[in-house]
């Protein structure tokens, strides 16, 4: 079986009733131009893109709308609740996003990336409000992809209240610090997948470059969600390509099973038949 076949034969990423072939989900924010965003989305190979809900600028009728630049028959939109700092606002925002996507007949209408933040400086998730919002949104029929801290206990609570997927942060949003606590991600995976190996866990936020994505995938997460690392790269389209390959490389490496780490060397070439050593 060729490498290409191995990649394409991978099981799709199943998120509730949604099925994605690409395990990379990308944001649409922070691009210098909508054209650059469009090209970067294309290069990322992603089939799912996140969007935010914001007030319409009523007095700028010539202003271009993001939706004019996204083929919503090709991409499943994942509306987020970014900018919300309590459960009530998050639920309100989720309902507004759903209403817009229903009008666009986009399958993303039935899900939401829940994000309830604690403060503007750290943009860390507020775990208490997040759990409350998740529970309410599940009750309203949403499939909730839940952004959270990398705390395994909160991750477990979110699964218990019905989150479709739990999405622990690698490090603070937009910080580019990568996966700061891989052990917490490992414990999240154990807690969430122990008796339910197919339960989706996605690393969301903190990615700086391709190796961060590969590392996350090597830990065994099901996907990675990122935005700034592509949008603010010097060459976003090229970085989007890198992220696509890093996702696949990390996934393949995880499935292949890494060798154990050992302190001392282990020769790759045969020890027998070495010609006699000469003395100096």
């Amino acid at each position: 079986m060729s490498l290409v076949e191995t990649t394409t034969n991978d099981a799709p990423l199943v998120l509730g009733t949604h099925t994605l072939r690409s395990r990379l989900i990308v944001g649409t924010g922070k691009y210098d131009t909508l054209e650059l965003m469009q090209q970067s989305l294309e290069a990322s190979g992603s089939e799912c893109v996140t969007v935010a809900v914001r007030r319409e600028k009523l007095y700028d009728p010539t202003g271009r709308n993001l939706l004019d630049y996204i083929d919503f028959h090709r991409y499943t939109l994942l509306p987020n609740t970014a900018g919300c700092y309590n459960a009530r606002d998050a639920v309100r925002t989720a309902k507004l996003g759903r209403e817009i996507l229903l009008g666009l007949e986009n399958p993303g209408a039935d899900w939401v990336k829940l994000e309830v933040l604690a403060d503007t400086k750290t943009l860390l998730p507020d775990p208490v409000e997040t759990v409350q919002a998740c529970e309410q949104l599940v009750g309203l029929g949403f499939q909730v992809l839940c952004y959270t801290t990398d705390d395994p206990v909160i991750a477990k609570r979110l699964k218990e209240v019905g989150a479709t997927a739990v999405m622990p942060a690698g490090s603070p949003i937009g910080s580019g610090q990568g996966i700061l606590n891989p052990n917490n991600i490992r414990i999240c995976l154990e807690y969430l997948k122990g008796e339910d190996p197919d339960y989706p866990v996605i690393v969301d936020a903190g990615v700086g470059t391709a190796s961060d994505v590969a590392f996350a995938m090597e830990l065994g997460v099901d996907g990675v969600l990122l935005n700034t690392a592509i949008a603010h790269a010097k060459e976003p389209v090229r970085m989007a390509h890198a992220m696509r390959h890093a996702t696949e490389a990390g996934r393949l490496a995880f499935q292949s099973g890494r060798i154990p780490r050992r302190l001392y060397a282990s020769a790759s070439s045969p020890e027998d038949g070495v010609i006699d050593r000469t003395s100096n």
């Binding site: 649409t28 935010a52 007030r55 319409e56 939706l67 987020n80 507004l96 817009i100």
Partner: protein
């Protein structure tokens, strides 16, 4: 009567509906969602939902985000 749209006051005819307001905003109606007094008004009800003096509207769309 006076209503507020995204925190800006506007004069609109008595008995105007949400659909009437959307039509005057020169926006693609497919790209927006509307709340009246914090309550989401489903698209199908934009025509039948009549506004009252002092109503507060939020008109939102989708923008780039992560």
């Amino acid at each position: 009567m006076k209503i507020r749209i995204n925190e800006e006051e506007r004069d609109v005819p008595e008995g105007a509906s949400v659909a009437d307001i959307v039509a005057t905003l020169s926006l693609n109606p497919k790209f927006i969602a509307v709340e009246v007094n914090l309550e989401l008004i489903p698209r199908a009800e934009h025509g039948s939902h009549k506004l009252s003096d002092g109503d507060q509207l939020e008109v939102v769309t989708l923008v780039g985000g992560g």
